[in-house]
Symmetry: C2
Subunit: 213 residues, 2 copies
Amino acid sequence: MAEELKLFRTWSSLFALRIVWALKIKGVEYETIFEDLSNKSPSLLQYNPVHKKVPVLVHNGKPIAESFVILEYIDETWKETPLLPEDPYERAMARFWAKFGDDKVLTSIVWGVFLKEGKEQEEAMVEAMEHLQFLEDELKGKRFFGGERIGIFEEVAGLKMVDEDKFPLLVAWMQEFADSPIIKDNWPPRDKMIAKFQALRDAKLAAAAAASK
Amino acid sequence: MAEELKLFRTWSSLFALRIVWALKIKGVEYETIFEDLSNKSPSLLQYNPVHKKVPVLVHNGKPIAESFVILEYIDETWKETPLLPEDPYERAMARFWAKFGDDKVLTSIVWGVFLKEGKEQEEAMVEAMEHLQFLEDELKGKRFFGGERIGIFEEVAGLKMVDEDKFPLLVAWMQEFADSPIIKDNWPPRDKMIAKFQALRDAKLAAAAAASK
């Protein structure tokens, strides 16, 4: 049977972009289905009835959801150019920090700093800085998987979080990550991303202001 | 070098109990350190500076936190009696449902149904039932890892969620899980668990009532 591999994504989802990068790193051919989340396709709902979200990878008819679960599946199915380290302890550390990034860093930055303002934003900022400090402390020549371009959030929210003086290793790692060819070639246009996230932030703040009246 | 394996836990943490069960299934010897979370040991803070929580497993001096990360480490280090299935797709499904259990089922049941009352509890109940239905639909002769004794929450909150008529497969699976010798021999006493969670619920509801005055 010929391999059939389909990726359901949106053009801007960072979780879906991770899967694009992983498949490119592995050199695996796949078909892309772009979803409109305001009008989800019957296929997406069928393949991911639990979360109804992208990314979903469908391999020979069998669907997998949740971006880190998909990454591990890709790593175990196409073994060349491993994404996770070989050693069990190093693998555990990679999984720990990936989970920390998804559960804590992204949450405090996106939901706290990026989508709030005023006092709430300041409080979220303290938390976000603490999370970034943990990453900085851990980054000693290690390669993380799943970095996200925090710079876009910074630009839209009009503030600076990842300062080179404060987090030199993190800044260097983000730069190296952004400069690697596979990541560079598979990023949506920066101005399109900025416009999208600006609209998201404006809508969220307007909704919060309306709710507090 | 002789193997040194230490588990930091509390007597009641369900996430730590999963690790106890996993180590018993593997037949691995380990030392237990019981933590008092109101007075955490310097070792716990040193080994898990990010989350400052149990469980933490320390293998030959190297710490691992986050219960599912620990489970995978155990599975990859002591390979006999595998916890996760061999096949990559089946492994992905096990990881997906474990994540669903931790992120969605436990959250809606513990934070929603168990620690709320009145209208908020009713709304959480709708969500919890939807989550349980997904598990029921998936449970077709499969073995899940990480089941928690929902019965204790039900008894304390004074309501019935996992009804045999509604969720026959889930009830059967929970019973089979609870009856297996390793689980049975490694559960804290039921009356002690009930007392602990009753106190937790009472304190939470009193705090919520005070905050809304």
